[in-house]
């Protein structure tokens, strides 16, 4: 039972991070390699807001979430906007640079020591016992639920929302989308802020559960195989990919060796690349564009 819970929690973490990769890739064919850093930035935003709104944990959390949404939009407006309609590779390299920058800023401002936003906010992290003798901490539970809500909302938005439709259209053919009056900058900015929002949610909830250090982006790096296994342009695929990667990781840690933890996602990825390089639910012809 505990094993199952661990898998679900880890899969939720990966899935919540992976949908950020998928969103941006799907609309602009850009791999956001700064996603992990933006996620960590979200976690540190909680820290900053906790001192700003001392004694109001809910307000601090809301402020951090809104700020991360704004951060995503700002990243697009000030950095990625210039890359719109240019070569995709240039845009990807820009995200690498952004990642390094964010990591530097975080260390500069908050130091590289482990910090506990939950303590700073003054909220506890009780553990629940589930039937079948499994344990789950409050914030892990919240993370699982948030993940489900986020995916539900994203599916609904992309399927039925007019701007969601426009995001899909821009992802398929940006030129035609622009010729149909769709403002590509608006669509891309939306994708960046939604992606940063989901990433930051994952970062914030993980930080509340177990603290935050400068090495948090590694987790996002491990979520990247989840997105790839599912197929980079498929949201549902990201969810399933996260389950597969998390399942393999938890089981191997339990039955073989805990040291394998950092390697497993990439082993799964390599195996996947041999069998189906375009991922479980990805579109095949996307490959030549990477």
């Amino acid at each position: 039972m505990q094993l199952l819970i661990n898998i679900v929690v880890l899969a939720s973490i990966y899935a919540l991070i992976a949908c950020g990769y998928v969103l941006i890739y799907r609309v602009s064919r850009v791999l956001n390699l700064a996603h992990g850093e933006l996620m960590m930035f979200g976690a540190y935003l909680v820290l900053a807001c906790s001192s700003l709104f001392a004694g109001h944990p809910v307000m601090a959390l809301c402020a951090a979430v809104i700020l991360s949404l704004v951060t995503g939009a700002l990243v697009y407006i000030f950095l990625m906007r210039k890359m719109t309609g240019e070569m995709v590779l240039a845009a990807i390299l820009t995200t690498v640079a952004l990642g390094i920058l964010v990591r530097g800023v975080v260390v500069l401002v908050w130091s590289s020591q482990q910090q506990y936003p939950a303590q700073a906010l003054g909220i506890s992290n009780p553990t629940f016992t589930l039937p079948g003798d499994g344990h789950i901490s409050l914030w892990s539970l919240v993370l699982v639920l948030t993940n489900l809500a986020a995916y539900g909302a994203l599916f609904g938005f992309l399927r039925f929302g007019r701007w969601g439709m426009r995001m899909r259209a821009a992802g398929q053919n940006p030129l035609l989308a622009a010729q149909r009056g769709i403002n590509l900058h608006g669509v891309y900015a939306l994708a960046w802020s939604l992606s940063t929002l989901t990433g930051a949610l994952a970062g914030i909830l993980m930080a509340l559960d177990s603290g935050v250090t400068g090495s948090m982006p590694v987790i996002a790096l491990k979520a990247f195989p989840a997105a790839l296994v599912g197929g980079l342009d498929s949201l549902g695929g990201a969810l399933i990919g996260a389950l597969i990667v998390a399942g393999a990781e938890v089981l191997l840690i339990y039955y073989v060796d805990p040291l394998l933890s950092d390697v497993v996602p990439f082993l799964v990825l390599v195996a996947m690349l041999f069998v189906r390089p375009w991922g479980l639910f990805g579109t095949r012809e996307e490959l030549d564009r990477v």
Binding site: E86, R162, L175, L176, R180, I182
Partner: protein, 270 residues
Amino acid sequence: MNAPLLQVEQIEVVYKRVITAVQGVTLAVPQGQIVALLGTNGAGKSTTLRAISGFLGLDDAVVTEGSITFDGAALQNRPPHEIAGRGVVLVPEREKVFPNLTVAENLAAPVARGTKARDRRPHEEHIYHFFPRLAELRDRTGGLLSGGERQMLAIASALMCRPKLLLIDELSLGLAPVVVGDLVRRLCAIRDELGIAILLVEQSAAVALEIADYAYVMENGRIVLDGDRQRLKGHKDVQEFYLGKGSAEDGARRSYRDIKQYRRSRRWYG
């Protein structure tokens, strides 16, 4: 107020900073008229249309000289979505629909100029009435449509933007004559009912001269001939090179050897 809706004045388009695709092209589209742009492959027709409808950074193309004026506003080198927002909408030659969106979604995605959310629905129904076939295919994925249906969807989704001027690149390409005839009739209906001007790029002069009020002929990136339908239909060179008829004098079959290219009268602007 006799200024045409669209006035393209002496434009020059350069790709990748070195390749000049069109040079000194001047043309005008008056309100509510159908104007055709004829010419062979690589004559610069599509480039002219793309220049009017706007380039993305990825195209690496720029209008280096001349001006494009629509409804009193300068359009040259503006981004495509802004130009569409002003009422100039392109039906491109290839990749004209979103392949993974359904027909209904293809019509829902375009941004309708100056239309409130609740006015969208009637407008959509209005468009369906021009293309009843699309209404039957509402839930079909765009990529699975036949060539004719795809062209209908492309025109319909362009109309969703509420254009004042519709640019159509290669209406008849790859379509059966029956389908083309049908599309041509619908285009005329659209022009008459909605008062939309149409700039049509065509390789098939026969199709274009059937509906166009006025036509231009392009060669090697320049306009070499223009005139109203009667003048072009009667023009010897157009008959010979674009309509495939023998020279008017004898009407007999001739050898390719006898075709005298140099006799063609050319008029270059600029």
